[in-house]
Amino acid sequence: MATYDYVEKAIKITRREFLGVVGVGAAILWTGAYAATDLVQDRTKYIKLRAAGLYRDDAKAAARQSHNNAAVGEMYKKFAGKPLSPLAEELFHTRYVDRSKLGGMRS
């Protein structure tokens, strides 16, 4: 039990001070909410803009299907024959490696 003879006078909070405290608190909460909502949505913006660029490139292309790319047809005619031809298999196809069996394993 503390004993003392003097104590600080009580203060009266003015309206302005009260609003100030409430304002600061609200600003902090709003910052957090903003971080969690508005800015998050922005994250996909760059993907969408770049993707839209490629779809624009597609829409304005003269030929829009791979088999209608005359240069590809010309290449097959002059060089590789046809898709899945032996030369196409040799140059355009590959095999895969089961890397889980490559050894030197570090768990």
């Binding site: 503390a2 003392y4 003097y6 405290v21 957090g32 969690a36 800015l39």
Partner: protein, 228 residues
């Protein structure tokens, strides 16, 4: 506890303020120490990770203390804010002589200093830094804790930069505060004791406060004892 030999006493730190101070000791102090660890990252993964866990736990204590103190003791917070923003030419005079501390510490000489209120000029300036810095540290800290994979990179980057700079400034201020708090042993006793201080000591340290801001306790009949 009897203080009769010391003469009249004044309640400097009511229980609520002392409890908040304990909240800062258990919250801000470990957060500051581990903050330096996280900044410099000395030692093993496990050590730095432990520092991170303590940092977050301490931050929770700090935030909870600050929020509760603001909500439950709004008058104390407002009084504090009023004090830290009131400056006049006495503060200039006080700052010019460094509050008399260098003379006292290095020359062993007590020089007259302009009369101060409950907080001297240095404490007021640190109070401003603590108020804004504390808000910034808390807000950026929780953003860094909770929103890192989610919030945009630039947002996180600047939150981290602010957290780092403000954290270093306040962390170093904290060490100064601890040193001066112990150096002024009477202040230490008041904060870690029952919150009271002999009136004579308060008059010496905080003359303007004693002159203007305190009043005698309404005595209960027959004694001077009152619950704190």
């Amino acid at each position: 506890m009897s203080h009769d030999s010391d003469g009249p006493r004044v309640l400097k730190h009511p229980l609520s303020s002392r409890l908040f101070h304990w909240g800062l000791i258990l919250g801000f102090l470990p957060a500051a120490l581990t903050g330096f660890v996280l900044w410099l990252k000395p030692g093993s993964d496990g050590f730095v990770n432990l520092a991170m866990r303590i940092h977050i736990g301490a931050a929770a204590i700090f935030t909870l203390s600050a929020v509760l103190y603001t909500l439950l003791c709004l008058d104390r917070v407002v009084a504090f804010v009023r004090r830290i923003f009131s400056y006049d030419d006495r503060d200039v005079g006080w700052l010019l002589v460094g509050g008399g501390y260098p003379q006292k510490m290095f020359l062993g000489r007590k020089i007259p200093v302009p009369p101060m209120g409950k907080l001297n000029s240095g404490q007021k300036m640190m109070g401003v830094a603590m108020l804004f810095g504390g808000i910034v540290l808390t807000a950026t800290g929780w953003i860094l804790y909770a929103f890192i994979p989610l919030a945009p990179k630039a947002f996180i980057y600047w939150a981290d930069q602010l957290h780092l700079v403000v954290g270093i400034v306040l962390g170093l201020s904290l060490f100064m505060h601890i040193f001066l708090g112990i150096y002024n042993w009477g202040e230490f006793k008041a904060m870690f004791g029952d919150g009271t201080q002999p009136l004579a000591e308060a008059e010496d340290h905080n003359p303007a406060w004693v002159a203007r801001e305190i009043e005698p306790v309404q005595k209960a009949a027959g004694g001077r004892q009152l619950p704190a």
